[in-house]
């Protein structure tokens, strides 16, 4: 039997990065292949090449034996490829129906036939057991529902090959289980499934075969029958995984960061944080674990004065922090490693030295009255580049020229080099290479040992479990449990994250 999808020797480079190097993979009909790898291993780039969203530099991609031309999305769709994207490709201001029919619309004459479209969406929803309201506007729907729309959109045209790019990142464990069941059903009906993830549990549960990518290359190919999670993790990272970070015991003191009855809305004006209470003591790391979308982002932004609080207060060493004044909060000793470093953390066209003083450019010694002290800027930059191991040709290099890991180190260096009482780190290692991850982890521990109260928010449970002294589990906008690191066992935390009682 010839393979449904055959990728042969595909190579793709982006400026400065080799995303894929000589990758060959095949998927047969009725088979679930998991594509496993760390962030930045090149998984997304590879499947985007299959779907025509990226043009590979070399290599061939064949579907049902037919060579597809690079960059031809509609060609891929016509050959029966459907894709569920990691970042939802939905128009927020349009209805579910409009989103699903986009690209191949039912027509009556030259006009859209919305009645037929609506009926089609309902039928589709019934067929796959994925419930959606065809008339709802996408922007009003929860992420889990949006995911269902994405899947329906991909399944609409009888697909032979379904690609799912990290579909479970925003799902609760139950929703994840449902999705895995959908994948099994599809495979049973003869569809080939190529499924990207970095979660080992899912791979073990659903995959027939596993292909592991590391640094843009195939690091190994195996099946859940032949290996276990430990073995997969080793393949992913390429060495014995030391998920346990070296750190001494915490010596916590008085509570520095106190959050009382905090209520915060999300962008759609729905309550995202509802009556949250949390204390972080000086000299400890509190990790916030939770499925993404349970209010973590809103919590961090409200603490740092970037999102209006509806009610409740945030105290730093007993002093109330102001609402919607990130800079004032910062000057009270709250360092913040923001989730979106390109948007808030850096000015990418500024040099490293300017970025390193971005929120203190007008303070001594970097400025006297209104004159900037260029010498002090340069000394500061030279020192921090050395201390935080920022790999850059020069301190005058613009931030945009750095790799993701080094950009993040610039932010970390700026935030942790200041006199800080509280550190709020949101997804501090997202999109960062392994070496930098280790370094950033050590810096967070160093900040703790220097007496800062560290609040770590991360979607990576492993990161929380290895760094945190206490684990706060967040669900539905509240902290549902606070566990000591010793009692925070994976299964327990997982159940709590799903909103189940321990």
């Amino acid at each position: 039997m010839s393979a449904l999808l055959e990728i042969t020797n595909v190579t793709k480079t982006f400026p400065g990065v080799v995303a894929n190097e000589n990758i060959s993979i095949s998927v047969s009909a009725g088979e679930i292949v998991a594509l496993l790898g760390e962030n930045g291993a090149g998984k997304s780039t590879l499947v985007k090449s299959v779907f025509g969203m990226v043009r590979p530099d070399s290599g061939e991609i064949r579907i049902k034996g037919e060579l597809i031309s690079p960059g031809d999305t509609s060609g891929a769709i016509a050959r029966g490829v459907g894709m569920v994207h990691q970042h939802f490709q939905l128009v927020p201001v349009m209805t579910v129906t409009e989103n699903i029919i986009l690209g191949d619309e039912p027509k009556r004459g030259i006009f859209l036939n919305m009645k037929a479209a609506r009926a089609e969406v309902l039928a589709l929803s019934e067929k796959y057991g994925l419930e959606v309201d065809p008339d709802a506007f996408v922007e009003d729907l929860a992420v889990g529902t949006q995911q269902r729309i994405e899947i329906l959109k991909a399944l609409r045209k009888d697909v032979d090959l379904l690609i799912l790019d990290e579909p479970t990142a925003v799902l609760t464990p139950q929703e994840t289980d449902e999705l895995l069941q959908v994948m099994r059903n599809l495979a049973a009906s003869g569809v080939g499934v190529l499924f990207i993830t970095h979660k080992l549990r899912e791979v073990m549960a659903v995959a027939d075969r596993v292909v592991v990518l590391r640094n843009g290359r195939v690091a190994g190919s195996t099946s859940p029958k032949e290996t276990d999670e430990e073995g997969l993790a080793q393949l992913m990272v390429g060495r014995n995984v030391v998920l346990q970070v070296e750190k001494g015991d915490a010596k916590p003191e008085a509570a520095t960061l106190v959050i009382r009855e905090l209520h915060v809305n999300d962008d759609r004006k729905h309550l995202a944080v509802s009556g949250l209470n949390l204390e972080v003591r000086a000299g400890e790391i509190v990790g916030v674990a939770g499925v993404e979308g349970n209010g973590q982002r809103e919590l961090v932004e409200a603490i740092c004065g970037m999102r209006p609080r509806i009610s409740g207060e945030v105290l730093v060493s007993g002093e109330a922090t102001p609402d919607m004044h990130p800079h004032k909060v910062h000057s009270m000793g709250v360092s913040h490693i923001p989730e979106d470093r390109e948007k808030h953390g850096l000015v990418s066209s500024y040099s490293i030295e300017d970025n390193l003083v971005l929120n203190q450019f007008d303070r001594e010694p970097f400025a006297k009255s209104w004159i900037r002290n260029i010498g002090a800027l340069e000394d500061n930059a030279t020192r921090l580049v050395e201390e935080f191991d920022i790999r850059t040709p020069s301190i005058k290099t613009t931030a945009s020229a750095l790799s993701g890991g080094n950009k993040q180190k610039v932010v970390v260096a700026r935030e942790l080099s200041q006199d800080t009482r509280v550190v709020v780190a949101a997804q501090p290692t997202r999109g960062v290479d392994v070496g930098s991850i280790e370094f950033i982890h050590n810096q967070l521990i160093a900040a703790r040992d220097a007496g800062a109260a560290v609040l770590l928010v991360s979607a990576e449970l492993d990161e929380i479990l290895s760094l945190a002294d206490r684990v706060a589990v967040m669900f539905g906008g509240k902290i549902v449990a606070i566990l000591d690191a010793k009692e925070a066992e994976r299964g327990l935390v997982g159940r709590l994250m799903a909103g189940l009682s321990a």
């Binding site: 779907f51 509609s74 970042h87 128009v91 690209g103 191949d104 859209l112």
Partner: protein, 327 residues
């Protein structure tokens, strides 16, 4: 949304009531003012359509002024040289398409900042037309066509059915655009590209092609507006004669919430304001210096924007380059 709808209807009813009252007081003047409002408002409405077509697919077009200037000039120039008005109209539309393609080329293919690209069109159009312009030429202009039967209806006959051919054509274009935007797959795809290009791209719609197409089509509509200005409304051409209409159109587009009907209504309101001022001056009711009359549309534009800005939501992908490949 509901509140806005009722507001719209109440306003419409008030306007109809006022017009009805004025018509009962002086039918001739009221009819002529409303008829003038239409012919003054139409070029603004058409120019606003240019903006809507571009921005709905995510391209900011501040070169509308240049499109109007260039196409009205070319239309007049060709009509005058060939002594054929129809040639003139087609050349104007073609000239509009050329400016549209030029904008598309700069902002889509070259990924230039769209506002700078639009400014270049404006400056080039000003330079080119004033360089090529020679005084003292005349061109054949269109003449009004009375639509049988309908033109005999009191009031509506004179307002709607005794106009030049380009008025009819322009109105048809605006209504067709409205229907197409909300009820055809072209419209659905265009709106998707303007809000979230990735969603269209992953559904197999070429963002690049659709943006090119729409900006070029928008240029054609701009060319029609230009032809209307020089060959039907004014009947001549002079340097800088579009007088900021292309910019006012952007304000109307925003005020009309990127909806063709909204922009048409806003343009008619502007046309009415001008028609009333003209009538007052003509009747010598008020002594308004010419400069202040000329200022009116600009002041209105700022007022309109001050009312509507901040409350409206522009197409989300407006002004952004779409990069297909991201690491």
């Amino acid at each position: 949304m509901k509140r806005f709808l009722t507001f719209k209807w109440i306003l419409t009813l008030i306007l109809i009531a006022i017009t009805g009252y004025l018509y009962s007081r002086d039918g001739v003047i009221t009819t002529s003012v409303v008829a003038t409002a239409l012919i003054f408002g139409l070029p603004l409405a058409l120019a606003a359509m240019v903006g809507i077509m571009c921005e709905r697919t995510g391209i900011v077009n501040i070169g509308i002024e240049g499109t109007l200037l260039f196409s009205s000039f070319i239309g007049f120039f060709v009509a005058s040289t060939t002594n054929n008005g129809v040639f003139g109209i087609f050349s104007a539309i073609l000239a509009g398409v050329v400016t549209g393609l030029f904008l598309a080329f700069m902002s889509i293919s070259w990924k230039m900042d769209q506002i700078i690209a639009g400014t270049i069109i404006n400056i080039l159009a000003t330079g080119l037309t004033s360089f090529l312009y020679k005084q003292g030429h005349t061109a054949p202009t269109t003449s009004p066509i009375d639509i049988p039967f309908f033109s005999n209806i009191p009031f509506f006959g004179q307002v709607l059915f005794m106009n030049g051919p380009l008025v009819y054509f322009g109105l048809v274009v605006i209504f067709a655009l409205y229907v197409a935007l909300y009820h055809t797959s072209w419209g659905l795809r265009s709106r998707a590209v303007g809000e979230h290009p990735g969603s269209a791209d992953t559904a197999g719609v070429s963002v690049f092609r659709l943006r090119y197409l729409n900006v070029a089509l928008a240029g054609a509509v701009g060319g029609l507006a230009g032809a209307y200005l020089s060959l039907e409304l004014v009947g001549s051409w002079d340097r800088g004669f579009t007088a900021g209409k292309g910019f006012t159109a952007l304000a109307l587009m925003i005020f009309g919430r990127w909806n063709p009907m909204g922009a048409l209504a806003a343009a008619m309101f502007f046309g009415l304001a001008q028609a009333i001022t003209n009538q007052l001056m003509f009747a010598d009711v008020a002594h308004i210096p010419e400069q202040f009359v000329n200022m009116l549309p600009y002041v209105l534009t700022i007022v309109v924007l001050a009312i509507s800005a901040g409350k409206v939501r522009p197409p989300a992908a407006e002004g952004q380059q779409y990069e297909k490949e991201q690491a």
